[in-house]
Symmetry: C2
Subunit: 335 residues, 2 copies
DNA sequence: CTGAAAGCGCTTACAG
DNA sequence: CTGAAAGCGCTTACAG
């Protein structure tokens, strides 16, 4: 005896409808059953008993779950829900479902979650993974279809879809240099973030190209981080601040306000990601936009191809583009 | 033949380790196996083969999934990730996992998702459901442990944990009345939202108590809604605006700025929820705070009790409290 | 076209 | 203490 909870099974329906369990299964799955009286009897019995198929048994039988797992560092960062929406759109269009897990920016938890999900999903989208390369490598060896967003590891044959941060970074620096800024500060993200590395590299190069100075202070991924670290940058006399993401930029904006500095009159601020609130801030945030939902959609597509077996690992990149709003303006003559 | 993907099973491990599948299972689940050479052999074989247990089969055998499903209206509203974090905290502490689904504010999709999840989870937390009462009633009859947040249906024996919006609403009106505001506008939420009904009722009563006028315009749940509808309220000459939630308030703030009105000098604005960005806005948003993570935690606790069978349906309420920040100030003499 | 039976991968009483 | 066997609920070849 198992049947925990005493839920009715195909067997109960079959007995009640006076047919075989095979017929029950066929009727309930829309398979070919000619005799309409049988169909009617089965439906009636199922309804009367309040039969609901045991999906776990069904998945087990099918040998697949039609479920995609998604691991993200922080659900509270509005960037990720947008990516998830993109994934969800593609996944549900295909009559599959999504299992979302939040690692809380912890690399260990991230690894644990992937392990957990891998047994219950047919594929996994690992968003902006923070885990070290060697862990990523062993996960890749588990053999479960896996796509990473915002992370590439040199020499690791992994399906990835990332943002080309450099493009947007170059545009941002160009924009600021054009406004007369000669010293730009960067509020860097979490050290384990691949995107942050990309952005630093993009900044270095763009700064060199335009002959501007770039100062870096490590902040993190949250508004608190931006709020906390901004003064360090000010101490270095920057006239413009680039932030790892919009949340960090938001924290920086708040701190500037508290310090009595006005944006963009005294200091210019540029974010990254273009999260939904960015356009509604005062001033509206100039930021480097990335196609978040598109990123998710593409990741899901890659996963589909991977699961279908007709794709080798590949690395894609989506461009990023500067969106100029109100938080950037001419540099003050001497700051 | 099934074994899609040719993954190794207990059977393969058993053969390789020269033991029975029962022993494999026992070793891998930390059950009593005395002979340490057997243990070693099994572990080695499992490692060599790269054996990973089929979790679906395990769940199937156990007759339970140790998974909690969560359905939310919109992952992009920062309110919900906070609630989810509260649920996740309680759920993962108990070695269970979370399956999150987003209904996109669609009542139909919501019903579909609950149906989908109910077959794959041991319990469901239905956050701020928008579906009509009759659907909620039939879902309740499915027999799966179910807890609703932010929704009570008169006469329906449902486990619910809600926010007592009235408390915060009264405090907000009191606060505004104390600042001299005599005409308050309310940017209402989605018509299907129970919380919105509660807030309207709280507003009505508080307005009567303090002898202030209250005007209502239906907005929605997003910043765009607030941005779009705000002018209607202004046309009615309100001096203060209450918003259904912080996102709506954010949209209203942006629109006010565009109209050249300053907050709180010209108009006061109060939000609801106290989402993480609220404190970082310019001006920082005065808002009615609710314990979002606590709401999630309590929902998960109720679900646990429900699953354990030692609880009848019950309705809990969490208080809400006004947090005064910079977006509210004295009423202008004539607005 | 429908029914009887096998089997998905695992765990756990039940024997030995 | 370990192994052989049953069985979780379902679907799908295989017979009839």
């Amino acid at each position: 005896m198992n049947n925990h909870g005493g839920r009715p099974t195909v067997f109960d329906v079959a007995r009640s409808a006076q047919v075989s369990i095979a017929t029950v299964s066929r009727v309930l799955n829309g398979r070919t059953v000619t005799d309409q009286t049988l169909v009617a009897r089965v439906r009636r019995a199922a309804n009367e008993l309040g039969y609901r198929p045991n999906m776990v048994a069904r998945d087990f039988r099918h040998g697949g779950t039609r479920t995609v797992g998604v691991v993200i560092p922080d659900l509270a960062n509005p960037f990720f829900p947008e990516v998830v929406k993109g994934i969800a759109h593609d996944v549900t269009a295909d009559d599959r479902r999504l299992l979302i897990a939040d690692s809380g920016e912890s690399p260990d938890e991230e690894l644990r979650l992937v392990g957990e999900l891998s047994g219950r999903c047919d594929g996994i989208v690992l968003c902006s993974p923070r885990m070290p390369a060697e862990n990523l490598e062993s996960v890749a060896r588990w053999g479960i279809p896996l796509v990473c967003t915002n992370r590439e590891v040199a020499g690791l044959p992994l399906c990835t879809i990332g943002i080309d941060s450099a493009i947007g970074m170059v545009q941002a620096v160009e924009h600021l240099a054009g406004l007369g800024h000669r010293h730009i500060g960067y509020l860097a993200g979490p050290p384990s973030s691949w995107s942050d590395g990309e952005r630093r590299a993009g900044l270095d190069e763009a700064a060199r190209t335009h002959g501007v100075r770039a100062s870096i202070e490590v902040a993190g991924a949250t508004s608190d981080d931006g709020h906390r670290v901004l003064p360090e940058l000010l101490r270095r006399n920057v006239t413009a601040v680039l932030a790892f993401n919009d949340l960090v930029a938001l924290g920086a904006l708040a701190r500037l306000r508290e310090l009595g500095l006005s944006v963009p009159a005294d200091v210019s601020v540029v974010g990254f990601d273009d999260i939904p609130v960015a356009a509604f801030l005062g001033p509206p945030l100039t930021t480097v936009a990335v196609a978040k939902a598109e990123l998710g959609r593409r990741a899901s597509e890659m996963l589909r191809r991977l699961t279908a077996g007709d794709a080798d690992q590949q690395q894609e990149r989506l461009p990023s583009t500067l969106v100029v709003r109100g938080s950037t303006g001419p540099a003050v003559p001497d700051a």
